[in-house]
């Protein structure tokens, strides 16, 4: 199966580029900081970290991954292999999402325990991570260097992350649910604080749809990039 081989290739590439070492260090730092938090803060702070970790890491890592492949010219070769655009993209999404799930489980177990809705947490992390990986790809595809990526991603990041502050409570704050990031954050929070079934289902379905739409869009821009010079 090509997609499995693409996944293996990505995992090997990420490992050799030192991505996993960075991620392990990051996870350990989270564990230490979250571990010393007062108990009454934990159910508020931990979901926030668990939401930000896969989303931010997915967003940063996909940029770094694509830029490294671009700089080394590998992308130029990948587009002349039988690997389909969607397979290439899904391999990236799967590899980074698996990483996010492992980190989420480790951080939660080490700093919070078992008493939460694991199913909702994992669903929230998967859908958030995959959305942010696709979202990061939109920025990365337009850049030629890593520095350029780090500058260009700022407005994109603010656009998608700022609405999350609506959770503090604004008038008409339900309007912010249109942002997939807000839906993801509410799912992760719901895993810790509780959420009614209908809301959880609605956020999940909405986030899934957002993933399908962005996946389709990213596939198109990847194809365009492949035929206009990777």
């Amino acid at each position: 199966m090509r997609i499995v081989n693409a996944l293996k290739a990505d995992v090997r590439f990420q490992f050799k580029q030192g991505f996993y070492l960075v991620y392990i260090l990051l996870t350990l730092i989270y564990m230490v900081i979250l571990g010393v938090l007062p108990v009454e803060w934990k159910s508020t702070i931990i979901p926030l970290v668990l939401f930000s970790d896969p989303s931010m890491v997915g967003f940063f890592f996909i940029g770094a991954l694509v830029m490294l492949e671009k700089v080394q010219g590998v992308l130029q070769y990948v587009v002349v292999t039988p690997l389909r655009s969607l397979e290439y993209l899904l391999a990236k999404v799967f590899s980074l999402t698996i990483l996010a799930i492992v980190a989420t489980v480790m951080i939660t177990l080490a700093t919070y325990g078992y008493d939460l809705n694991w199913f909702l947490l994992i669903i929230g992390v998967i859908l958030t991570s995959s959305f942010f990986v696709f979202f990061g790809f939109i920025v990365a595809v337009r850049c030629t260097t890593l520095n350029q990526y780090f500058i260009r991603m700022i407005p994109y990041l603010l656009f998608i992350v700022l609405p999350c502050f609506s959770l503090i409570g604004f008038p008409y704050d339900w309007l912010f649910n249109i942002f997939p990031s807000v839906a993801g954050l509410k799912l992760v929070y719901g895993a810790f604080k509780g959420i009614d079934f209908l809301s959880a289902a609605a956020y999940s379905v909405y986030l899934l749809l957002a993933n399908l739409v962005i996946a389709h869009y990213v596939e198109k821009i990847f194809d365009r990039m492949a035929t206009e010079g990777a």
């Binding site: 090509r2 081989n5 693409a6 293996k8 290739a9 090997r12 590439f13 050799k16 580029q17 080394q72 010219g73 590998v74 992308l75 130029q76 070769y77 990948v78 587009v79 002349v80 292999t81 039988p82 690997l83 389909r84 492949a226 035929t227 206009e228 010079g229 990777a230």
Partner: protein, 284 residues
Amino acid sequence: MIKVNGLEFAYRKSPGKAIKGISFDIDDGEIFGFLGPSGAGKTTTQRIIIGLLRGYQGSVDVMGKERIMWGKDIFEKIGVAFDFPNLYEKLTAYENLALLGSYYKNNSLDKDQLLDSVGLLADRDKRVEKFSKGMKMRLNFIRSIMHDPEILFFDEPTSGLDPVNGKIIRDMILDFKKKGKTVFLTTHNMNEADYLCDRVAFIVEGTIPVIDNPGELKIKYGQKSVKVSFNGDGKLQEEFFPLSGIGRNSRFLEVLNQDCVRTIHTQEATLEDIFIKLTGRELL
């Protein structure tokens, strides 16, 4: 194998056309050289045939089907080695072949044997970032053939290689021809084209003024004479003799009979001379 007819192409942000209505055919088992200076349209044409540029006008038929009608499956049948060694720097030579090789249905060629064929077997487990440019180019080359494709696209395949390794690559290209593979060679190295190609096309400013066999071109555009260098009157001398009636040329026979000839050369043109003559351009 490849039939290009009336091909035109313009880049979106460029005012003029990069390719201006070129036509050529490449037969099965042929080594076809595409020669021209930088910016002439060599790489653009190659990228259109490979499928990396769309929006062309005219027809590009590859293995019996218009190029834009092919999906990604075409890459099972074609191999591409770009002029830039685009490899995973942090992975070893073997890992580079194994990972990208796994995307092909035909992944049966022995990778160690391929590495050995270009003198890289001893470096199979070394990270590519530690390779010289020549080593990377050789790895780049074998990566393009590891799925045993029918058509091979090589862009300056011996660029950056020392003479020994350059010869290894040239011999391998000739070997593909023996196996019936078709080779599309893009280069500005006229000696290489002369040595390898069955036919060459000169491309200048998006047009092809001539397509022919290198041997025919050299005879057609060369001087029909012989240059003889010989020792005479205590110094090295040179004289030119027309080929026509040379067996009856008394002066030529006299020089030969003096037993002091150093060299004799027919004055066929080099491909480079012909290129400059026909296009008015240098090959840089």
